[in-house]
């Protein structure tokens, strides 16, 4: 009898977790797509929140700190599709052409631009792949 009660308590906790996770995913999911995938989507729903990762294209950064407004292009490398990003955020640290950047927001088909609510540059606070020390001053 007591084991049944314990089982009921455990079931309530597990169901509670299930509900919280289900509603959490439903309310907060963002589709991670590559820039190539996004550029090929004929009809991206305006309310879908996307997460994109790419490299900041050289010469594309236009920043006005007064508004503030940060405009730049992202691609996945030379010769790959480009997406134009517009953000009302201040320019984050490590934001420079060639660096990796993650943006969250919606894609506006009419203007062919990505309205980013969040712009994050990669924080190399952890463990980068070891490359040749090519940026060392020579």
């Amino acid at each position: 009898m007591f084991n049944l009660k314990i089982f009921a308590v455990i079931a309530i906790v597990v169901c509670g977790l299930g509900y919280l996770m289900y509603s959490g995913v439903n309310d907060n999911s963002q589709q991670y797509v590559t820039i190539t995938e996004l550029s090929h989507r004929a009809a991206a729903p305006a309310d879908t929140i996307y997460k994109l990762k790419g490299k900041i294209v050289d010469g594309s950064v236009d920043y006005d700190a007064k508004i503030p407004c940060l405009r730049f292009d992202l691609n996945e490398g030379p010769g790959t599709p480009v997406v134009h990003v517009v953000s009302p955020e201040l320019m984050p640290d490590n934001f420079k052409p060639g660096n990796e950047c993650i943006v969250e927001g919606t894609f506006e088909r009419a203007t062919s631009s990505f309205a980013a609510t969040k712009v994050m540059t990669k924080c190399p606070s952890k463990y980068e792949g070891q490359e040749e020390p090519k940026t060392a001053s020579r």
Binding site: I6, G24, A65, C123
Partner: protein, 690 residues
């Protein structure tokens, strides 16, 4: 020196292989001399890892760019303090640091128990040696920090690339060692658990034997996670301290499982229950430390993080090791299920056992939700074929309600009677705290917090309820002692707490957690944080108000250029700082100097700018500012009011001190005596030694 250090690494790997075999054959073949030899190999491994580490530190301090690692993570103008910490700022060094720490733990463990004939100690050492050898193998063959720089490149290098500017912070010197010590330390409790299963131990005495080795990593883990949050707060400049990023989450997975384990072993000790569950939690905790290490090194390539990932360089090695831990541990557990059968059952839902079980379930739910949210991109690809991520709000939406339940259980668990609590006992224990909690909640409602803000109301109730119950435990203990000994209340309180450090240390941890919870809500952007960005010209003002902190105003006075010099007088960084006069009710309070810094590499400021946060701490919260320049005629300032943020740090400090206080109680509790074992035993090994 360097080649000698590298050689030491290879010898450490060889010593690890030998230690595993010697301890394995020694314990199970009952050969005492082999066991002794294996123990010596474990201790030798520590010496060899130390030699290798000293070699790398020496190379970093001497700016020896003939090593790729030094050229990539250090430079000449870096202060010795940060040259020292650049040891663990990259992949190779961090893995060597892992090896060094686990070897130090293993050395201390073997040395402390070197004269104890109980086979549980060498068996535990053997398991730890497997972990050491895995990391030694990685450092030797996959991520060697002693890899030489290409001679052609070396001849052209003037200076190293330097340490990432974000890592040039005192918190980053302390945070990784604490976190690592918390991570790697779980190798020893895990070793105990596996040894118990291998040796077929029936009792729960091993928990007492392992107690020190369980508490130490928990304390380090708590300190490491908290320091990580503190570093993020004062260095990253987004106004918060925890963003549920995969790398951050990886640091806290094992903390949830470990905290659940710490609570449920009390039930095993007291009631001889939950033995299988405890083994599962122990395996899970250690597994999550390895999984976290794997994750932060890019093991799951689908994860998108603002932290850099390495791109699955060691994915196969880590995956194989994790599968080995999982399959080996679970198989052993299943094989030993008959001896892990509990002697008791739950007597009533209204009991301490069930309260602790619920605490376990809630902690595990938070752990599962955090893991699921972190690896959701991987899960979604497997299930629906599309990569879906969940943002910060998912974690808050799921974990905040669970955290509030946990807060209540922290009050209920330690005071509800074991086995079965009568309705009268429940009334006696909880009636006053419930009434006071309701009164506090009503007061907050009357002060203007709306009903829709249910999180605040529940937090006020839960924090008041739990704090009152916990403080009452101190009062009750002191009162009894005062009456028994005929001494004053305060001396009685001091002696009660000091004589029962294990119990009251736990209460101190709970008080710290309650305080931190209040700080979480006060300072969070979904709580009471206020923020405002504004472009400011000289003389412009910006004001921000908070019900808890009042109204603060900043006036932009101008931009200053600052030069930071290292201990040799060389310019190390150049900063542009916005001088902001901070006033409250028209009265000057302080100057804030949020800045952008460029670090000097090879005599020139680097192209990368890093944000330097400025904040003014007060009792009720911090005024926090960041600045960015985008034109010649002004500066963009983002001002934050972070109410009660100091409670997060104080809560963490109190929790860590509570854990240390528990540690100082070295008495062993034997509630569930070990059952005599007919198998190969202490006496046999002791006999073999003789």
């Amino acid at each position: 020196m360097t080649s000698f250090s590298e050689l030491a690494l290879y010898f450490a790997f060889a010593a690890g292989c030998y230690a595993i075999l010697a301890l394995g054959f020694g314990v199970f073949g009952r050969k005492a001399r082999l066991v002794e030899s294996g123990k010596n190999a474990v201790m030798g491994m520590c010496a060899l890892a130390a030699v290798a580490s000293i070699g790398l530190w020496r190379a970093l301090l001497a700016s020896d760019f003939s090593l790729e690692y030094v050229a990539a993570h250090s430079n000449r103008t870096l202060s010795p303090f940060y040259k020292f910490s650049s040891f663990w700022s990259g992949m190779e060094g961090s893995l060597l640091f892992w090896l060094l720490l686990v070897s130090i733990y293993a050395f201390i463990f073997v040395f402390r128990n070197r004269k104890n004939p109980d086979p549980i100690y060498p068996t535990t050492s053997m398991v730890v040696a497997i972990v050491q050898t895995f990391f030694a193998g990685l450092v030797c063959f996959a991520a060697n920090p002693f890899k030489a720089t290409d001679p052609q490149i070396l001849s052209q290098i003037v200076d190293g690339q330097g340490l990432n500017t974000l890592l040039q912070d005192p918190a980053m010197v302390i945070h990784p060692p604490c976190l690592y010590a918390g991570y790697v330390g779980w190798a020893i409790p895990f070793g105990f658990g596996i040894a118990v299963l291998m040796l077929g131990r029936r009792g729960s005495y091993w928990i007492e034997q392992a107690r020190l080795w369980i508490l130490v990593p928990w304390v380090f883990l708590t300190a490491g996670v908290s320091l990580g949050g503190w570093w993020a707060y004062k260095e990253l400049g987004w106004g918060g301290w925890w963003a549920w990023d995969p790398v951050e989450n990886a640091s806290i997975f094992p903390w949830f499982a470990a905290s659940a384990f710490l609570h449920s072993i009390m039930i095993q000790q007291r009631r001889d229950m939950l033995k299988v569950w405890n083994m599962v939690l122990l395996l899970l905790t250690f597994f999550l430390t390895i999984f976290g290490t794997f994750l932060t090194r890019g093991g799951l390539k689908n994860l998108v993080s603002v932290h850099s990932f390495t791109g699955a360089r060691f994915a196969y090695a880590f995956s194989a090791f994790m599968v080995f831990i999982l399959i080996g541990g679970v198989a052993l557990l299943i094989a030993r299920l008959p001896i892990l059968r509990s002697r008791n059952r739950f007597d009533s839902v209204a009991s301490r056992e069930v309260a602790f079980l619920l605490n376990n379930l809630v902690l595990l739910c938070i752990c599962i939700a955090t893991i699921a949210g972190t690896v959701w991109p991987v899960i979604s690809v497997a299930v629906v074929g599309r990569e879906i991520t969940v943002g910060e709000r998912f974690f808050n939406q799921v974990n905040v309600p669970l955290g509030l339940v946990l807060l209540l259980l922290m009050g209920i668990g330690p005071v509800i009677p074991w086995r079965k609590a009568s309705p009268a006992a429940l009334r006696r224990i909880f009636l006053v705290p419930v009434i006071v909690g309701v009164a506090a909640t009503a007061a907050v409602l009357a002060a203007g917090v709306p009903l829709e803000n249910w999180k605040t109301l529940l937090l006020v109730f839960g924090a008041t309820f739990t704090l009152l119950i916990t403080l009452n435990e101190f009062r009750k203990g002191a009162k009894v002692r005062s009456e028994q000994m005929g001494i004053g209340f305060l001396p009685a309180l001091a002696s009660t707490v000091f004589l029962n450090r294990r119990r009251y240390g736990g209460y101190i941890v709970h008080i710290g957690v309650v305080i931190a919870f209040v700080g979480f809500l006060g300072s969070h952007k979904e709580g009471y944080q206020q923020t405002r960005p504004q472009f400011m010209k000289e003389g412009d003002e910006m004001s921000l108000s908070s019900g808890l902190m009042g109204t603060y105003t900043v006036r932009y006075v101008g931009t200053e250029i600052e030069y930071d010099r290292n201990d040799r007088g060389e310019i190390h960084s150049v900063s542009s700082a916005a001088r902001l006069l901070l006033t409250k009710n028209g009265m000057p309070v302080n100057y804030l100097l949020p800045a952008k810094s460029r670090y000097v590499v090879a005599g020139k400021p680097s192209a990368d700018e890093s944000t330097e946060v400025a904040y003014h701490p007060t009792l009720m919260g911090d005024v926090y500012a960041v600045a960015a320049w985008g034109g010649d005629d002004g500066v963009s300032v983002t001002l934050f009011l972070n109410p009660l943020i100091s409670l997060v740090w104080w809560g963490a400090i109190i929790a860590v001190l509570g854990g240390i206080f528990c540690l100082t109680d070295r008495r062993r509790v034997i509630s569930s005596p070990p059952v005599a074992r007919p198998s190969r035993d202490t006496s046999e090994l002791a006999g073999a030694r003789a």
